[in-house]
Symmetry: C2
Subunit: 429 residues, 2 copies
Amino acid sequence: MDEILETWSHLSSTERMAMFAALPRGQVDNFFLDLPSRDQLEIVLALPEDERRIWLRLLAPDDAADLIQMAPADERARLLAELDTVAQREVGALMAYQEDEAGGLMSPRFARLRPDMTVDEAIAYLRRQAPQLETIYYAYALDDSQRLAGVVSFRSLFAADRHRTVRDVMRTNPVVATEDMDQEAVAKLFSQHHLLAVPVVDAGNHMKGIVTVDDIVDVVQEEASEDIQKLGGMEALDAPYLEIGFWRMVQKRAGWLAILFVGEMLTATAMGHYEEEIARAVVLALFVPLIISSGGNSGSQATTLVIRAMAIGEVRLRDWWTVVRREFWAGLVLGTVLALIGSSRILIWQSIWKPYGEHAGVVALTVAISLLGVVLFGTMAGSMLPFVLRRAGLDPASASAPFVATMVDVTGLVIYFSVASVVLRGTLL
Amino acid sequence: MDEILETWSHLSSTERMAMFAALPRGQVDNFFLDLPSRDQLEIVLALPEDERRIWLRLLAPDDAADLIQMAPADERARLLAELDTVAQREVGALMAYQEDEAGGLMSPRFARLRPDMTVDEAIAYLRRQAPQLETIYYAYALDDSQRLAGVVSFRSLFAADRHRTVRDVMRTNPVVATEDMDQEAVAKLFSQHHLLAVPVVDAGNHMKGIVTVDDIVDVVQEEASEDIQKLGGMEALDAPYLEIGFWRMVQKRAGWLAILFVGEMLTATAMGHYEEEIARAVVLALFVPLIISSGGNSGSQATTLVIRAMAIGEVRLRDWWTVVRREFWAGLVLGTVLALIGSSRILIWQSIWKPYGEHAGVVALTVAISLLGVVLFGTMAGSMLPFVLRRAGLDPASASAPFVATMVDVTGLVIYFSVASVVLRGTLL
């Protein structure tokens, strides 16, 4: 099955339909269910209308909702109509939620119990319901108004004395997600509490559905991909790399690249201000790329660390002062290391090939001080920008590493030439 | 419970022990179980020896193994001895595996059935075993030599006719993980097949344990964090940002930063080669940061995209040619966009403030051609480096964005000054 899925992901649409048609009857169901919604939709749309029904009806309501939401607007009603009436109502309700919130992830087919049932009655009831349910591993005790009273794991129900009631064995105050909770927050619940399913409730504690952990693995992958792509300096792609259309991908990359480029044009302006200094001491120009890239690299490190720590909840907004102090000292140490390497390089080269003229000593000093300043600035700016963005209600991952690098490049030039104008006054300048 | 965990993660060790001691009896068990292994170990080690046993025995064997493996070497035997003899054997066996392979993630307490049991016998048997098992949601049918014959989900067992046998309802050829399978590969199995548990077998198909999906959510988060940190140009931290020791963190950052710095020193060498050109046409120096950063940014994008697509299995080694072609065209389009913006900027500035002298037209042309070349090179190099690294058996995520940027910086300078020496011959140079 794995090899089939592997092969599948690298076929053209026509090849896919041929392969789908060729799969043996006994395998094709599971194969279809294992596919991502995008691919399921591709198959369903490619089939003649009278063959669509069996595939659509095979899907759980939450998966059917995902598929239909991905379809072109004019196909949606037709696809929905292929489901049976119960499923139509369920799927319709799910489609009202955003794809990336708890309501959009949940299945409405959870196991309901009454708190006053006996354990034996509950087990017998679940046994009858099992075929229709997404999972029976947790069952939910609801009161008469469908409010969530407690949760009982099937295992504890199974291990309990059969004459006790559900109320006796259920866990009250369970971990719940609200309908509009962001999927990242839902994923955090799962990872903190090691749960297999989380009930979704509305503001009045009425139970709406359950989110199961198998859907969360995908959510976590998806969120990590988005963050990684934003850190790489682009908009998050909304489809796999090999499947997204060429122009759509270029567009998602060109936007940020152009913004960064316009920002980076400030370096030309800054360099323009120091044109006279460069003309007088060309040797200064030689170290420009070295100095600004060191600022960029140290800024990338700091911003990546902080953004990731924020994304998985290790660092919160109010930790900013701890982070400032930590990064200040880190920047100082890292800057010192690079300053030592950089100035040694200049002095060693000078002692062998003498490329930097009679004032190599002060040039080395200029480079060393600038490196310390630039790395310190890069580290501080890189670590603080995510806090500023989150504070402003923006996604800290947008403080992508290249964005920090651009910001640090301009400042790095100013630091470098300011240090030079002080240190080299009377010698080179 | 969430608020307690939130608070916890920001306390000092002493505060944590005080809080742990103060938690009400009814909550403290679940709280302890929800903590990461590192924090559980911290508590256990801080407790007097005669209080350790109850906490260690509360843990499932896989969690106990994780905790003991994290303990200082001289404490491990003492901690292991606190477990009962069965658990000692189980935990000892688990500790033989690497933490990041299937064997290291698995629990040996899975539900075993014989294929010739009736459904009713199987259910009654599971009911008795339930309290000792990690999960009963899947049960595994083993033959007389403990080889895996099939898997039956509890739900299907429950829904089946009670007089049929396990063999009739079990799924043969289930998805399995091998003992030494990397945890990233195991995570992929879960995400492809939407499973709650995967059986772990040795080379002879003997069943060793199960990996459950709740552990996989953490694996996925952990792997994503590692990749993100490597992409940010540092070694992956092995502890949360606020918990890792200062010097340990600095060390993980300084290593890469110094390597990148040494690589970047080549820019000073390259610039040295063009010192004469810069002296003759200082205007050339002004655009150095702009041009090399554009190469770096486009390289970052490409390498991030490809590394992530590889990590989640969307792109494989043999797709390299597809990626080359795609990125060639992407680089050409992106380079053209930046070339247009860059040359317009120069011409517009020139028409207003005349900062670039009489030869602004050819300078704009030089910058435009160089941008196209540098962006194309950055995109190609950034997208190919992960393939080269993976081919060489290295982790593609080490081709971090700053690493690509450094490589592209040096090449970018060569491209820029080569273009300049051709285009500006006879005018500025």
